[in-house]
């Protein structure tokens, strides 16, 4: 028989206070939250928390903060439903509930000594930001580092200051789907930047996060350049409820995304991503 008390306590959120609210762009906000003392486990890049807005509901949101600064919990949230909309309206001093961290992390150690390729699309940059923080502070540990970021238009570039003259400028490239004439950067889909001319895919590990269709196309573009499926990692997004592998809400074929994901190798999930019913 299961230990119901343990299970219940794992699902009780800790109260946490919002310290800072940063509007990234239209309906996308980054919240910095004080880490409650009861959340003893430090997060790893790629993991997520369950965020609870009192009286509204709870959703899963990936960590997007600095893994070396664990005193604050950072989440970037886009308003797409009632809970996320309530979250982005929270102000400094407001309270929310947090439990976590949950899920599998990005395999950063697996990429050490190799070429690291990070491909992000839209808000998919948020779960990869902890990776970029960590890797930026230990560049010598990797043979090379490349970040390719695609988004809808110049006004929806997440963490823009990190690119323009910021710490990601030296290894990051941005492309937008369309732009007005005042945009000086690349225009085109993210896969346009996945090219043998600019990427060293030999002995490479790739981390991809973004809309599922973008991840599929990006992974296939890397495979076309000779990468193996098991060296490409994606972050899955499914609706989660319990986050402790009990309810089955996030079931994805034989996997529970809260337990076996969100980070999984493309080889593991490639065929499942093509099944519309999942």
């Amino acid at each position: 028989m299961k230990d119901d008390r343990g299970l219940i306590s794992a699902m009780v959120p800790a109260a946490a206070r919002v310290l800072r609210r940063q509007v990234e762009y239209d309906e996308v906000v980054t919240l910095e939250v004080e880490r409650p003392a009861t959340l003893t486990k430090e997060f790893l890049p790629g993991q997520f928390n369950m965020l609870y807005v009192f009286g509204v509901g709870e959703i899963a949101v990936s960590h997007s903060g600095h893994p070396f600064h664990q005193d604050r919990i950072v989440h970037t949230i886009r308003a797409v439903g009632k809970v996320s909309r309530a979250l982005i309206l929270l102000k400094p001093g407001d309270w929310l509930g947090i439990r976590g961290p949950y899920g599998t992390p990005w395999p950063i150690d697996h990429a050490k000594g190799q070429n690291l390729i990070v491909v992000a699309g839209g808000l998919g940059l948020a779960p990869l930001r902890p990776v970029l923080y960590e890797v930026s502070s230990a560049k010598d540990a990797y043979r090379s580092m490349r970040l390719i970021y695609g988004t809808r238009d110049p006004s929806s570039i997440l963490y823009q200051s990190q690119f323009e003259g910021g710490p990601w400028a030296e290894f990051g490239q941005v492309t937008v789907d369309s732009a007005n004439l005042d945009w000086q950067g690349n225009v085109g889909v993210v896969t346009d930047l996945i090219s043998a001319d600019t990427l060293d895919t030999e002995n490479a590990v790739a981390l991809i996060c973004g809309p599922e269709v973008m991840m599929r196309f990006s992974a296939n573009a890397l495979i076309d350049l000779g990468m193996r499926e098991d060296r490409i990692y994606v972050s899955l997004e499914r609706n989660m409820k319990c986050a402790v592998k009990q309810c089955g809400r996030c079931q994805f074929g034989p996997y529970f995304v809260c337990r076996d994901g969100p980070v999984a190798s493309f080889g593991q999930v490639d065929k499942l991503l093509k099944i519309a019913e999942l």
């Binding site: 308003a79 996320s84 809808r152 007005n180 945009w183 000086q184 196309f217």
Partner: protein, 155 residues
């Protein structure tokens, strides 16, 4: 001094073609320079030329009322500007503009079409170089239409 043939070979697109075919193609080409802001081609114009970008950056654009000209693709070294010259009605579908000084090899489309008509091996070889570019742009266009970065989900 590098010949036009050398410059063509330096660009990835046509370099694997048989040298005699590259020689024929280069006979229809010449160097061109576009200042920043200059149009390389305009929507609706006869597709009399196409270009292989050697240096600089160009854009493919179209005018949208209320938004002005919107860029949907930027092109740089090694990229092709213009595929409408391949098939009738030989009319450019979009504006192409130099975003910065742009050096390119300009090809006379009429000249090349005549060579392709006379030598179908050349025509086939060229098509095999152009079709992947067209396919790639079609794939990109479909992803752009899907607007995959738009808000999604219900949480």
């Amino acid at each position: 001094m590098r010949t036009l043939t050398d410059l063509i070979v330096e660009q990835g697109l046509l370099k694997e073609l048989d040298p005699s075919k590259i020689e024929t193609i280069s006979g229809c080409g010449k160097n061109a320079v576009f200042e920043a802001g200059a149009y390389i081609q305009k929507e609706g114009d006869p597709a009399d030329h196409f270009y292989l970008v050697r240096a600089g950056k160009a854009s493919l654009e179209t005018f949208i009322p209320g938004r002005g000209n919107v860029i949907f693709k930027t092109l740089s070294e090694g990229d092709l500007v213009g595929v409408s010259w391949l098939v009738p009605p030989y009319r450019s579908s979009f504006d192409a503009r130099a975003l910065e000084e742009c050096r390119a090899i300009e090809f006379d489309a009429n000249c090349l079409r005549q060579h392709c008509e006379a030598d179908h091996d050349l025509g086939y070889a060229l098509l095999m170089k152009f079709v992947p570019v067209i396919l790639d742009r079609m794939r990109s266009a479909r992803l752009q239409i899907l607007d995959v970065y738009g808000p999604d989900g219900d949480g």
